[in-house]
Symmetry: C2
Subunit: 252 residues, 2 copies
């Protein structure tokens, strides 16, 4: 069950924005038992986005989540790039257009904008790759898209964190099934990291868990995250390490 | 002058850590006039890191900055992966070993660690790809590495933000020359995004600048970043847009 994440936006490549979206998506996918194997970020460029989507599809992840570049401005080109990468046409989604029309009408009535009409930029957001299922945006104008293609579940989400998060929770996760993965963060007190390594490797062999470790402070503590499908299996892996002399504290 | 950034770490792929390192690196590179074309994140896995480095080298960036996975634990495998990707041996850097020895001796004397000896994990950090120039780590144990390979300047930096930042400022940027790129953030008050697009395209054609735009709020403001090599050129592009009726506020 492996997944990839693609975030799109020039502001991510100039460092003007820190990409917290991909961390949020990664956390949710990890909780569902997906192993996020790679994250990629490219700019608002049709050719670049297209190229990287094709590379990702060649690696055959089960899930690909794309975020960013769905808005009304000229450099929001993600849907077009997705369509081209999959050799599909962009087609008008009538219900999306209606929803976008309502969205701007409401903003107009609230006095947020001066013009409720659907200009080209606003209309553009209603075009999705042929065969895509629209994903509702409860927080903004641009719909997302869900496309199954060569066995990969592709979700295209907005880049505004509030919109992306709502769509991920309400529209994406329910389509990814119920399986849960649990993670447990521990702090191992140890002054010789080299003693820990063989024990972790043994634990990985004995139990159905994944373990990540990273140094915290100057070698006195190692942060450990044990991932598993059940509390019981995590508990058994932890008990095994404790028997071998590792002292744990909860959390970090 | 294009660049790529590769960050390495399982914690980035599980969403336990937000990758602020790559944004910091991207900002600094952008200021130097580099165009960061892609950012990639992979986990602490020799084969994955190796594979992605080879893909990046095939795209022939001028600069590749890699961050993460240089520490003493068993899953810090970035230097090994770099060496393998470049078909080079890992060789002992004597001056690095001496520096690491001193580092742990100091920590021991300050009472931070119980054992000043160089165990396997600590020694491992002194091995760099053959032909690499060591980069000083003023904030931690692990040295970085600078390698020129098939015309690509490769810098390998630690993942701890404090260590990475210090090494980037002191060891990397001085090796990338003096050229400066300036950016100016503006807020364009406009209620119809579609009117802005053709003006931006015209400005790009007339002036030696790059322009990024992204919506702020619900369509009343568009955030604009103009990048250029001189204040004068940015000012001219801005004046052109103002003449065409765009009203700007500074900053966002």
């Amino acid at each position: 069950m492996f997944a990839e994440i693609l975030t799109v936006g020039d502001e991510l490549l100039t460092g003007n924005t820190v990409d917290s979206n991909s961390a949020f998506i990664a956390r949710r996918l990890t909780e569902r038992g997906y192993w996020v194997r790679r994250k990629t970020t490219v700019g608002d460029d049709v050719e670049e986005i297209k190229k990287v989507i094709r590379e990702i599809l060649d690696r055959k992840p089960e899930v690909l989540i794309i975020s960013g570049g769905l808005g009304p401005t000229h450099d929001d080109v993600t849907m077009l790039a997705v369509a081209e990468a999959l050799n599909r046409e962009l087609v008008l989604c009538e219900e999306c257009l209606e929803r976008i029309r309502e969205f701007y009408r409401e903003l107009y009535e609230k006095g947020y904008i001066d013009d409720p009409e659907l200009n080209e930029g606003r209309k553009k957001m209603a075009y999705l790759p042929e065969g895509a299922e629209p994903l509702k945006n409860t927080e903004g104008a641009a719909p997302g898209a869900y496309i199954e293609h060569v066995g990969v579940k592709i979700f295209v989400l907005p880049g505004m964190p509030r919109e992306m998060k709502a769509m991920l929770e309400k529209e994406v996760l329910p389509r990814l099934g119920e399986r849960k993965f649990i993670q447990r963060k521990l702090l191992a007190e140890i002054t010789d990291e080299s003693k820990l390594a063989p024990l972790l490797i043994e634990a990985l062999e004995r139990f159905d868990v994944r373990i990540h470790s990273s140094p915290k402070g100057f070698g006195r503590y190692i942060g450990i995250i044990i991932f598993g499908e059940s509390e019981g299996e995590i508990e058994r892996a932890k008990a095994f390490l404790e028997e071998k002399g590792i002292r744990f504290e909860e959390g970090w």
